[in-house]
Symmetry: C2
Subunit: 421 residues, 2 copies
């Protein structure tokens, strides 16, 4: 029975019941947090061995003393490990510090001030970025800070609306970049289809210095046994004659330790040279001991894959709780849709238009913090005010259940109040 | 007997003898490196305990799980430790990643793109920096990369020529910044006198957003038992009514591990807020486990001071070898002057004008790499071609001796060849 088919009396009765449920939740004085994609303690415990796996052996395989200065591009064995993840050659990898966000931020900053291999400084050219939305708020925040105009592009089940993307980049040389989270998009859990990847690589761009920032944050973060494949954008760009178009990023933040992992990027030889030229002015090198620990602990991509299955065992029940409670409480009512991701860190929930901010506010008032409504859109403004990002990784399973019960109550109340005028 | 008092025949004989010495050096096929201020293995071994001092205890004093995201400004106990070194309050400290150079670079980059607490973006204003010279090549490289015009200012025994500094900053609103290494300047080993610090704090600047980048890289890196005092620039700026003028930097790169230390900055509350606003877009936080290790290992400033005495015990004989061999082989000949630093990482050698590049080239040809001549000046151009930076920390003592024997031979040959026309 959908809301639309109920009569006003039924709706009023249902609202009374839901409000009572809501009040009883509020009375419990919960303090739950589903705002950010943080690993939980049990996940972090999986990597405790990182803390002491090197002992006092501080030498890289080639004899490099990892305690001392140097090796700007990263340890050879760390580049090799990330090359496996990126499906590129080690020479096409730079291993950095603990933050892949910083690598992305700095690539944008350097392009603003110094340009890319494909053209002069973006600064002063009024640069614009395509922003598949809903998307990752920290990507959008980089654009916002530096005055890069954001053009939202709708996300579909296979990735961004490529007809729109192709139309925009062909027409406007100010469009210098595009943010993508290609497998398990944040928040939708979308996996970019092969066709989308190939169109991104081969599309004609008015800007010769157009750059795709390919944030493969959840490259190996599967929740299912047979993860959906992701085509290799860097290879597709090389094949399409646009080898410098894409720069890929990833990190071990949600593999090992969120705050003490290792970030890396992959790109064409020309991009690597260009990026290292900027980095050589910024730093003498990243923390090689952190890189060494990761290589010693994980060994190779197979080691990481095995490790990620342990993460999945912890995370899957939480994601299942989210989608199960959504289905039980909102299914068939025609008031919400949500993702059922095969990996990543989020469930994306769409309420009726105009209800997301209200739901987030109601949940907060009853002790459940959700990601701010609108956060998944450029400038924090969801034009339909409907998208809510649910991040179930950090709270214990029982708290995820409690939070989702409340969220569904809030969604139904908001929907009923809206239809009742 | 100085060169000027010798007659041509004596000089020719001396040159023959020196050339024979030089050839015998070259025949030995040495491969020594005195280019960079890198700690040696024995120094790094002093901090081996850092590698395992935390065991698997990853919690900060306030319970923070250092493995997870967050705490952008740094762990409270790490801020407290650096606050002791900076002589400020913990709230005035940001503890970052492994590179204080990156903190400086990023402060400049943010000022270029977004301005400071004192004014709009530097970019487009044709900013200039004062560069006390000889100075640190990596500071100058930041300016060079971003098109910041560098105005060299002469260094004297008490710091930069303050009459010149005051004259310049009062007259030119494009002068937005100044690089300083205030105690044990790189390369001269100069300690800024109290009067210099107070004049820097109180001088009138045409630019309201003038910033002193106070790179206190060698804050605790003493070679003597009673180190020369350094006045607190941040306190002096606060007292002079220019609290936001200075940003101080330091790191443990030459305390613990050069490539895996912890960098930090100190500044006014307004500057800290401003810098954190930029950092919050760049990263979710620095590696807190690295910070925790450092606090556990060193405990406090007294612990660091005790540790630095062990460094001095390793370094002092190398510095003594440099200055002793310089005195033995060049003393009284009126062809060179050099520093005898009470701390830091360098000895600064001045040859006769026009001889530095030749000396560095000759040394290189005989197997001793020195810092490139000119590197200690903006754009790599020493106007008098006389300054050579000697970095004796990394090679073993016997190699320092060999290298310095050769360097003195090269200096005397260059001087004699020059006087002989």
């Amino acid at each position: 029975m959908t809301i639309a088919t109920t009569d006003p009396v039924q709706r009023a009765q249902r609202l009374d019941a839901l409000r009572a449920e809501y009040e009883s939740f509020r009375a419990r004085g919960l303090a739950l947090d589903m705002t950010r994609g943080k690993p939980c303690n049990e996940q972090l415990d999986l990597s405790l061995g990182l803390l002491d796996c090197t002992g006092r052996d501080f030498r890289a395989a080639d004899g490099t003393d990892c305690r001392n200065y140097g090796v700007l591009e990263g340890l050879p064995e760390a580049r090799a490990l990330f090359a496996e993840l990126f499906e590129v050659q080690p020479s096409e990898v730079i291993v950095g510090g603990n933050s892949s966000l910083a690598l992305m931020h700095d690539v944008v900053v350097q392009a603003l001030l110094k340009g890319t291999t494909g053209g002069p400084a973006w600064h002063g050219q009024r640069p614009k970025f395509l922003c598949p939305s809903p998307g990752y708020d920290r990507h959008f925040a980089i654009c916002e800070r530096f005055g890069i105009e954001m053009l939202p592009v709708a996300m579909g089940p296979d990735g961004p609306d490529m007809d729109e993307v192709e139309r925009l980049v062909a027409a406007d040389a100010q469009i210098k970049g595009m943010w993508c989270v290609p497998r398990y998009s944040n928040p939708g859990g979308v996996v970019y289809a092969r066709d989308v990847v190939e169109r991104l690589a081969s599309m004609r761009t008015a800007a010769p210095d157009f750059r795709i920032l390919w944030d493969n944050a959840y490259a190996v973060h599967h929740l299912v046994d047979a993860p959906p494949p992701l085509a290799n954008l860097l290879a597709a760009c090389a094949a399409a004659g646009s080898p410098d178009r894409a720069i890929a990023f990833t990190s071990t933040s949600k593999i090992s330790f969120a705050g003490a992992g290792v970030g890396a990027l992959a790109a064409s030889a020309a991009n690597i040279r260009h990026i290292l030229a900027g980095m050589s002015i910024q730093t003498i090198g990243s923390d090689k001991l952190a890189q060494l620990r990761h290589v010693r602990f994980f060994k190779d991509a197979a080691g990481i894959a095995a490790h990620m299955r342990k993460h999945a065992a912890i995370l899957k029940p939480k994601f299942d709780a989210v989608t199960t409670i959504l289905a039980e409480r909102l299914g068939g009512k025609d008031i919400a849709t949500w993702s059922d991701p095969a990996g990543g860190y989020f469930v994306s929930l769409d309420t009726p238009d105009g209800c997301a901010a209200k739901v987030v506010g109601m949940a907060d008032a009853a002790g459940v913090k959700l990601t701010k409504a609108g956060a998944t859109y450029p400038l924090g403004k969801d034009p339909r005010d409907r998208n809510i990002r649910l991040a179930p990784s950090f709270p214990p399973l029982e708290q995820v259940r409690q939070a989702m019960e409340l969220v569904t109550i809030c969604v139904e109340i908001a929907a009923l109040e809206q239809i009742s005028g």
